[in-house]
Symmetry: C2
Subunit: 306 residues, 2 copies
């Protein structure tokens, strides 16, 4: 079923121990959309400048991603970010952030988007996230991402936004910051009091934990021989997670949601995040097949079952 | 079946964010032995001074641990270690190390130990580890632990020792140091070329990975609401791992070993490591029951199955 993805479409400059790319397609909505499109119909809401290349638009369109909501600002430039990873790729330094047209991003949903049942709100200002949801008439499952900046400087707005969310996907340091608790069990319990009944805490190479009020599910990180570029791995995880749920038409009944489907969604998220790291930027998604996705899902099973 | 455990029996002084204990029973062989004794018959080889308390000997004996090989040096003092953990308990600072009688530890197996089929060699000088194995007549499964110091300063001796081992249990930084590879898949492949057909890499709160030449198995770390004291968690893991294998009588056939049993052994290791952290020092093992162990094993299943 249709999934609306709101967030950045950008250009990235990335340096890792495996190489350097000065400018390539990036942005949260790009990764989430490309990843989710393997599982369901995706409609993107984002903004670009008129430097946005036809080739990049073509990649998204080739995945049948609806780009009606991809606003193009004449004379504007697309959001640009550049960063450099540490030798072990567990840390990165931001070298440049040019918000450009993204600075004034105020997402408006095309009429054809408003009846969609699934909504993923990428990491943007929390009030904008709330405004998007308000434009939707028939939403069944809402959730998204946030970051340290909004947690620290826009806390009241973020808390208001979270009240309406079914799920939140953040990393461990964000979970600690949001909850004020170091211990992840306690942090998760606090966060689930803020609104979301489902929380996914991403732990980078160490995998992810899915929390529900009645239990949790843990998946270790997939072991790769070579991590070429971790950029977008978290967003690809998000795309696999929500894409799977949307594709299956999963929805809460009386606030409850099928735990078995959520577990599978976390595995598909992990699968998509792991593929993302295998090449620079979005390159792995250019050739990725459903058969490869299924094979890696089975590999996760083989590596964790006892 | 009988398991020989060689290593330190010590006194520890430990400070964590939850409290401070000036002197309590510790040492690798103590934790390994207490943990393994829940699964199999254990015989300890270690050395203490005549300050070793009757009460502490009594605890080990109450678990039916054979102490024939616990040498007592008249006039000597027991190995003492003191350390302080960081607020998140992921790091610790050593405040004091008094080797005392442990400095001259040269393990000799009592006659009644020599026919035992299982041998776990705790973290001691690699040549001493090799000498122990040479004293055994009927060993079926040999393995153990080592540390940065031996990897750096006794590498030739360690490499000679590893040739005879079926399994090695080390943490991720030790695996990287031993192999010269940062990536854990590559590190594991290198290490398994050194001798052991089975490698367990412990990752602290992030769980553990079992490597075999034909595949691997990953278990995430158990989520605890309170980690009181991580001292001995790695050794308790080792005790659960080898204790389970010895208790089941698992042995290699033509160099091969049942992967399903190894997976279960890693889970029991994780279970025992997690219990260890719940109280200071060995305290959790004073009250731990088989029913609690089984319940936590099932919890691991519930938290990881999909």
């Amino acid at each position: 079923m249709s999934l609306i993805v709101v967030g950045s479409v950008a250009y990235d400059g990335v340096e890792t121990p495996h190489g350097k790319v000065d400018r390539m397609l990036g942005g949260a909505a790009t990764y989430i959309g490309l990843s989710a499109a393997f599982f369901t119909e995706v409609k993107i809401v984002a903004v670009v400048g008129d430097d946005f290349a036809e080739e990049d638009r073509g990649l998204l369109a080739s995945r049948k991603i609806d780009l009606t909501g991809l606003e193009r600002v004449p004379g504007g430039k697309t959001f640009f970010w550049a960063g450099k990873y540490s030798p072990d790729m567990n840390d990165r330094e931001t070298l440049r952030t040019d918000l450009n047209v993204f600075a004034d991003f105020n997402p408006k949903l095309p009429e054809t988007y408003r009846g969609a049942p699934y909504l993923f709100l990428g990491n943007i200002q929390p009030e904008l996230q709330r405004n998007v949801r308000a434009q939707m008439s028939n939403v069944r499952l809402t959730g998204g991402d946030t970051m340290n900046y909004w947690i620290n400087d826009f806390r009241p707005q973020l808390l208001e936004t979270l009240k309406q969310w079914d799920f939140l996907l953040i990393n461990d340091s964000e979970a600690r910051l949001l909850s004020g608790e170091y211990n992840l069990l306690r942090a998760a319990a606090r966060i689930m009091e803020l609104g979301p009944h489902t929380l996914v805490i991403k732990r980078g190479e160490y995998g992810a934990i899915l929390f529900r009020r009645d239990g949790h599910f843990m998946v270790p990180g997939y072991l790769l021989e070579d991590v070429f570029d971790p950029t977008g791995a978290g967003d690809s995880f998000a795309g696999g997670f929500i894409g799977y749920l949307a594709g299956r038409g999963v929805s809460p009944h009386d606030g409850d949601i099928d735990f078995a489907e959520l577990r599978r969604a976390v595995i598909y998220g992990s699968v998509m995040g792991s593929f993302c790291c295998e090449k620079f930027g979005v390159d792995r998604f250019r050739t990725l097949t459903h058969a490869e996705i299924e094979a890696r899902y089975q590999e996760f099973k083989a590596c964790t079952a006892f």
